[in-house]
């Protein structure tokens, strides 16, 4: 069917900030959709609040709005742009929910906007559990027994009827929020209460537990003519009970006969028809009882998803791109398969390798968090690995995770409870003793049952402890097929360990070990050797990886798209060219502190270098990203970012150099080792990176350019730390070196807290010393991004943080241009930053952090690499810094690129951070030097107040324009709180406080209602929160401790979705925001209009 000509302009809704359950995959799908629609000749309008996305770059959509994803702003964009249609299926659950809400409020009808891709009715049918259940029953599909509840009491009745354990699922939420497994009425009540609050429709489903069943997912597509294809089947290693996003998953399905598989396919097809997904991609999830084969349907998502991104990367079939084309009326047979060119998209990919996805967690960042995996998603990122076998893919995946592992154990990082197995001898000792240590055996076995992030290793320890496949299966529900594969790895590992010192045996085993995915590091561990000699021995034997193509068709047709993975086999297909090429290392899995911002920078480098005529080679392991779209670079290697894997590609491809500084800490950590192996590093030298990281060299550098730094010292032990503390005086900041996101970074006010923090810091720091700084209290923090060609430097922007120094820069709101510091100080900072760059010889990007205390500028740290703020700055000033940086690294100058002067924007941009606290009930939400945010949004407008207001709106922590504000602050803030409270009062807010703060306000004649603390009886502050009797909370923490009253209040506020401000500076900013929206109507403006640029032609 030809594409539709009755629509000309299409609005795409993005997914907003990165949160748990929604990450880069929607940038990937959004970019694909924009490109696909423009290719078909449509005008595309985009709304997304996340500045760190490629999709919001001006060259993609015709008009891009970085505005909050709320109905109010969506309507403003629609009113201004008047699109004919909206495509709501590319922006994750956020996009879908926003479209549903806008539709229900009549916005689309009012402006004559048609929903394409998924109609309102279809979305409702898929998302509303009751409607979904009825629909499934209608087409004869089996479901777990279930019923709905709208109150806690109803829920209890339903649960009793079904029988415990039951699963609670909230309707219409994000990534499974408000869901959980309950084995008794107590747990049920808690979970249901939360679920009702999360649900947009205050509804929860109570469901028969099918824990331990096998879990499957089909990624499917359908077009307007009812043509239907399955793109990929996925089987979870973790059985039912763990959210798919938190499960290790494998493509394709491994344990289904064709009969069972086709039954599933038929079911998925029926689901698509019945729900009414006329065009596009969806995923359908099933559970299968391993004993009887009974198959039940779990759910379907009528949109592209994280799984569809995974399926696209796993097969080479670009689901989002084709979904966009189907949405405008094309049919699958009318779209060519990019990879084969001559065959159409109307087929089902076949693959001749195995794909494993492993989630990445960040529990270490959240004290007191429940780290068991449940039906509520908790992972912050994921890796994908491809191998010819499951074993190879799994081990590659485990070493891609950036958890310092090098495979499935025997890598010096095994830790059985508190027992660290760092050496071969310790490992052998454990292997020898554990089968006879009854208590330890049983403890391991018990631990294998409970899904946690390291469960996969406990499966291994259970094998080492002598348990059989059957026993472990009975205990864990992990399918025997997977267990048998793991056992094969364990068995080979034993052979490897035995081969120490037997060169002949080692040589005989080497090839098989590589085929099983063992890294050189693991082999070195087994043989008591370092990695380098293993590598040398391997190469001498001629055992090198070959690179195979991902081609959608299992080699049936010739493939034209250069998308590769490594394996140890006979034939290599990579066919390196003789062109000048540059290799770019990506950022690996998303985790807190390392996310989409770095993928953005890498993609920019690729785009810029391609344009210059270089062949670009991308290496990355994160399936969500734009960088791993085979369309992005000239050659894509889906590989772990370890020394071994990167060197292998380097030696195979022989590029002119490697760019490391754009992928964040992951590639930067490889800098020294790569250089030592003769790799040419482009841009800022490894020595310069070292000078910035090495405490002594850094001190000398600052001294040389006469820049102060907080008093400091280094320590490798607690004793040394106490020594330093004595010298410089508390409070002090403790931080490990060479980490990202302030990992294990803390402020210690006394020796007791120092003790606790040092232990964590030493662990995180590894062989490097821990850095100790004097903490600057009440200081303003400044971030500067700079670009340099080695001679000339230009500051991209100076950003002022709203929160004071001491809160991780990734967690602060930051503002361009600075709003409170004097111009001379800004100028001084710009000058000093340029001096640092010159001194270090920076070629590319650099980020410097400063604190200003009582007018004095202190330099906190220098990072000679792209920072998290590069996309934010680029979008604000309208200059693509990462693109320029890549060009500088291959020899261009800033003069060549015509960027020699700082840009002072005529508008204000605020970057606000977004936190995952809602997924971690009970965790205190206060901010600290350890980064906790998962993503960011940007508010942009004429002045500070408006921009800030938008940023809060976009961060889904909407400032109420009126109502009740609860104010309670720590003692040191009390002198300053009266003025803030007075302004809230003047803005029409009612103020309530507990005793201490209330007294201060009364003393200053600010009207306040005093309410009880939790310990003072009821109704107390907690009841106020639960009953949502307040609209805003201002609560500055007196110290850490989730057990304290204040911690409980903050945590509760998150659960009940009440915005909570935890610093006075943020409270002041909020007041300015409220002021701004009271005086004036908010408006929307496209990035193109801000910067006077046009999109590239489609």
């Amino acid at each position: 069917m030809p594409k539709r000509t009755d629509i000309k302009k299409i609005l795409i809704i993005g997914s907003g900030p990165i949160i748990i359950g929604q990450a880069c995959e929607f940038d990937y799908s959004g970019v694909q959709a924009v490109k696909a629609l423009k290719e078909e000749g449509y005008k595309v309008v985009l709304i997304n609040s996340n500045p760190a996305t490629i999709m919001t770059d001006p060259e993609f959509a015709d008009a891009t709005y970085i505005e909050p994803l709320t109905v109010e702003f969506l309507e403003k964009v629609i009113a201004k742009e008047r699109p004919d249609a909206v495509l709501p299926t590319m922006g994750g659950q956020t996009g879908l929910n926003l479209a549903v809400e806008a539709c229900e409020k009549g916005v689309f009808q009012k402006y004559g906007v048609e929903m394409i891709g998924a109609k309102y009715e279809a979305i409702k049918k898929a998302e509303n559990r009751d409607e979904f259940k009825r629909a499934m029953q209608k087409i004869g599909l089996d479901l777990p027994k279930s019923d709905f509840a709208y109150t806690v009491e109803e829920a209890e009745k339903v649960a009793e009827k079904i029988g415990y354990p039951v699963i609670v699922r909230a309707s219409f939420t994000l990534g499974g929020s408000g869901s959980g497994i309950c084995s008794n009425a107590d747990e049920l009540r808690t979970t249901v209460r939360m679920g009702l609050d999360y649900s947009m429709v205050r509804e929860v489903l109570i469901e028969e537990s099918i824990l331990g069943w096998k879990e499957f997912e089909l990624e499917v597509m359908r077009d307007i003519k009812d043509n239907f294809v399955v793109i990929c089947s996925i089987e979870n290693l973790d059985p039912m009970g763990v959210h798919t996003g938190d499960s290790i998953t494998v493509a394709p399905a491994q344990t289904l006969t064709d009969r069972e598989y086709q039954r599933m396919r038929d079911a998925a097809r029926k689901v698509m028809s019945e729900i009414g997904i006329e065009t596009g991609g969806s995923n359908v999830q099933f559970a299968v009882d391993p004993r009887t084969g009974r198959m039940v349907i779990i759910e379907m998502n009528p949109r592209v998803s994280r799984s569809s991104a995974l399926a696209s990367k796993a097969t080479g079939f670009p689901i989002a791109k084709f979904a966009a084309k189907l949405a405008v009326g094309l049919t699958l047979d009318e779209i060519p398969n990019d990879i084969t060119k001559y065959t159409p998209a109307s087929f089902e990919p076949s693959i001749d390798y195995c794909v494993v996805k492993i989630p990445r967690f960040a529990f270490e960042k959240f004290e007191g968090v429940d780290n068991r995996l449940t039906t509520q998603m908790k992972s912050v990122g994921e890796v994908m690995a491809i191998g010819r076998t499951f074993k190879e893919a799994l081990q590659k995946g485990l070493r891609s995770l950036e958890t310092k592992r090098f495979g499935f154990g025997a890598d010096g990082k095994d830790k059985v409870f508190d027992l660290a197995l760092k050496t071969r001898e310790e490992y052998l000792g454990f292997m020898k003793s554990v089968p006879n240590d009854k208590a330890l055996r049983e403890k391991i076995f018990a631990c294998a049952k409970v899904p946690r992030e390291d469960r996969i290793f406990y499966l291994k320890y259970a094998f080492l402890a002598g348990y059989t496949i059957e026993e472990i299966y009975a205990q864990t529900g992990v399918d025997p097929w997977f267990l048998a594969q793991l056992k094969q790895i364990v068995d080979l590992e034993k052979e490897l360990l035995d081969a120490r010192g037997h060169k002949k045996v080692q040589e005989a085993l080497l090839r098989r070990a590589k085929e099983y995915g063992f890294s050189d590091r693991q082999l070195g561990f087994c043989w008591g050797m370092k990695e380098a000699p293993v590598r040398a021995m391997r190469k001498k034997m001629g055992i090198r990886p070959v690179y195979k193509l991902v081609d959608t068709c299992a080699a049936e047709f010739k493939a034209y798209t250069p998308y590769f993975y490594s394996t140890y086999e006979a034939e290599d297909e990579s066919n390196p060219s003789k062109k000048k090429k540059v290799m770019i290392l990506g950022g690996g899995p998303n985790r807190i502190g390392q996310g989409i911002e770095f993928d953005y920078c890498c993609v920019h480098a690729v785009l810029a270098l391609r344009k210059m005529g270089y062949e670009t080679i991308m290496v990355n392991s994160n399936p969500e990203t734009v960088s791993t779209d085979y369309d992005t670079s000239d050659k894509l290697f889906f590989e772990p970012l370890t020394l071994e894997d990167v060197l292998n590609i380097y030696e195979n491809e022989k590029p002119v150099g490697v760019i490391l500084q754009l992928g964040g800490q992951t590639p930067l950590n490889l800098a020294k080792a790569l250089k030592a192996n003769g790799v040419k590093i482009l841009g800022t030298s490894v020595e310069a990176i070292d000078r910035a990281e090495d405490r002594d060299q850094f001190k000398k550098l600052l001294h040389k350019i006469r820049l102060s730094q907080p008093a400091n010292g280094i320590a490798s032990s607690l004793e040394e730390a106490c020594e330093v503390a004595k010298r410089i005086g508390y409070p002090i900041v403790v931080r490990p070196s060479y980490v990202l996101g302030g990992r294990a970074m803390e402020i210690a006010y006394d020796q007791t807290s120092l003790k606790k923090f040092m232990k964590q810091a030493v662990e995180a720091s590894g062989e490097h010393p821990v850095l100790i700084d004097k903490f600057l209290e009440d200081a303003t923090e400044i971030d500067v991004d700079l670009i340099s060609d080695g001679k000339t430097s230009v500051v991209g922007s100076v950003m002022e943080h709203i929160e004071e120094a001491g809160i991780h820069s990734g967690d602060s709101a930051s503002v361009i241009p600075p709003f409170s510091i004097p111009r001379e100080t800004v100028e001084e900072i710009v000058a000093k930053t340029k001096q640092i760059a010159r001194e270090l010889g920076v070629v590319g990007l650099m980020n410097v952090q400063y604190a200003i205390q009582k007018g004095q500028v202190f330099c906190l740290e220098v990072n000679p690499r792209a920072s998290r703020t590069v996309p934010f700055v680029s979008k604000t000033i309208g200059v693509p810094l990462a693109k320029l940086a890549a060009q500088l690294m291959v020899g261009k100058t800033l003069k060549d690129l015509k960027f020699t002067e700082e840009i002072v924007p005529n508008h204000v941009a605020v970057k606000e951070s977004v936190f995952p606290f809602v997924k971690f009930p009970g965790v205190d939400i206060i901010l600290s030097p350890e980064m906790k945010s998962t993503g960011e949004v940007m508010g942009i407008d004429k002045d500070f107040g408006k921009a800030f207001y938008k940023s809060q709106e976009a961060a889904m922590s909407r400032l109420p324009r009126k109502g009740t504000v609860f104010i309670s602050v720590k003692d040191s803030d009390k002198p300053k709180i009266a003025e803030i409270a007075r302004q809230f009062h003047r803005s029409g807010f009612k103020i309530v406080s507990t005793r201490g703060t209330a007294q201060v306000l009364k003393d200053h004649r600010v009207p306040v209602q005093e309410i009880l603390k939790i310990t003072e009886g009821s109704p107390n502050i907690a009841d106020w929160v639960r009953n949502k009797k307040m609209d805003l909370i201002v609560n500055t923490p007196s110290g850490k401790g989730p057990m304290l009253d204040e911690g409980k209040i903050r945590s509760l506020a998150v659960s009940f979705n009440i915005p909570c401000i935890t610093t006075l500076s943020a409270a002041r900013a909020a007041l300015r925001g409220l002021q701004a929206v009271r005086d004036d109507e908010l408006d929307v403006k496209s990035i193109h209009d801000y910067h006077g640029v046009k999109a590239a032609k489609g």
Binding site: S346, A570, E571
Partner: protein
């Protein structure tokens, strides 16, 4: 080209034409499909044997492949339906398998040079000798392989599809069919039963008169192995029956009808073997994902246009996938609507056959 791997299944030496199959599931159905007589199959998916072997999924009484080539045999089986390991199944049937080779390299070779004669040996280790042995082995071109797989005498087949796995309901049996067995797959017979036919299976060499003597309401022509041009006697039978009986052919059956109408067959470079081939029904313009297993095709241009109408086309390579007679109630497809293994998209063809006969009868 030669590969060194690890043997499984039976020991010994096996010869055959090497073809690859891209199905991710369904190795048991593939092994037991009589159309693979004379061939050795390479599975492109690396992990094979994961779910074992069970009686219910067999497509005939035994495996027919000459040899089985895979990347990795599963160390265990994991499926509630499994009754036997793949290894034991092949041993029992005296079929040699090889694992641990770069199957992708082999597949790319076959894709480039076309299906080739091959040998698997657990006896001879000299690659040169093996290559010349393979070269000397008989070709399947021009050879009638049907006579080796067809039934010896006729029988009635009364089993329908199983009630599980959502195959759909069975229609009341109203018509009788003769199904010519050139290597027929059991699921075709089950499907014919399900769609309302009493089925009498007859050997491939049964004459037209013998078939007419059964007084069937229709004739079914099955799939089968090898070169269709070598099965002249069946072409002859079909020619005599066109216009006398409503007719439906699958795979080799399609090629028989094509030849009976004057068409020519030719060999594809490496054939179609897999579960993911897109075929368009030219009447409805709808696409079905089909299960395929054939090396030969009927050349579109060789068919008389005034008598024959093309109904189905392969969207990958635009080859002929189905046609019907303009005057007589005769139609056929090159692919496998009985879908064992494979997607269930093409089931409507059996309904179409039923309706065709119903119209003739009514």
């Amino acid at each position: 080209m030669w590969f060194e791997g690890v043997g499984f299944g039976a020991e010994g030496e096996a010869f055959g034409e090497v073809v690859f199959n891209t199905g991710l599931t369904g190795y048991q159905e593939i092994l037991t499909d009589p159309s693979y007589k004379g061939q050795m199959v390479v599975m492109t998916y690396p992990h094979i044997g994961n779910y074992g072997i069970n009686a219910a999924d067999a497509e005939s009484s035994r495996p027919w492949v000459e040899g089985f080539i895979i990347k990795e045999l599963s160390p265990i089986v994991s499926n509630y339906r499994s009754e036997m390991t793949l290894d034991a199944f092949l041993k029992r049937s005296n079929i040699a398998g090889i694992q641990g080779i770069d199957t992708r390299k082999l597949v790319k070779h076959l894709r480039t040079v076309g299906a080739k004669k091959g040998v698997i040996s657990t006896r001879e280790a000299d690659p040169k000798k093996l290559v010349s042995m393979a070269k000397r082995s008989p070709s399947i071109v021009g050879v009638d392989l049907v006579k080796g797989v067809t039934c010896q005498r006729s029988y009635d087949f009364n089993e329908s599809v199983p009630s599980e796995f959502g195959w759909g309901d069975s229609r009341k049996k109203q018509y009788s069919l003769v199904a010519v067995d050139s290597g027929i797959k059991w699921n075709i017979l089950r499907k014919l039963n399900q769609h309302g036919f009493n089925v009498k299976v007859v050997p491939a060499h049964t004459t037209a008169q013998e078939i007419l003597a059964c007084k069937p309401d229709g004739l079914f022509l099955s799939n089968g192995p090898g070169d269709p041009a070598a099965v002249k006697y069946l072409v002859e039978t079909v020619r005599k029956l066109i216009g006398k009986l409503p007719m439906f052919g699958i795979c080799l059956g399609h090629q028989m009808i094509g030849q009976a109408l004057g068409g020519k067959t030719s060999k594809l470079k490496f054939g179609h073997h897999g579960n993911n081939h897109p075929v368009m029904d030219l009447e409805t313009r709808k696409i079905e994902i089909t299960s395929q297993n054939h090396n030969f095709v009927v050349d579109i241009d060789s068919l008389p246009k005034d008598e024959v109408e093309m109904t189905h086309i392969n969207l990958n390579d635009k080859t002929l996938e189905g046609f019907r007679h303009r005057k007589h109630p005769v139609f056929c497809v090159q692919y496998h609507p009985e879908n064992a293994p494979g997607p269930h998209d093409s089931d409507y063809l059996f309904t179409r056959f039923y309706e065709l006969i119903h119209k003739q009868a009514g």
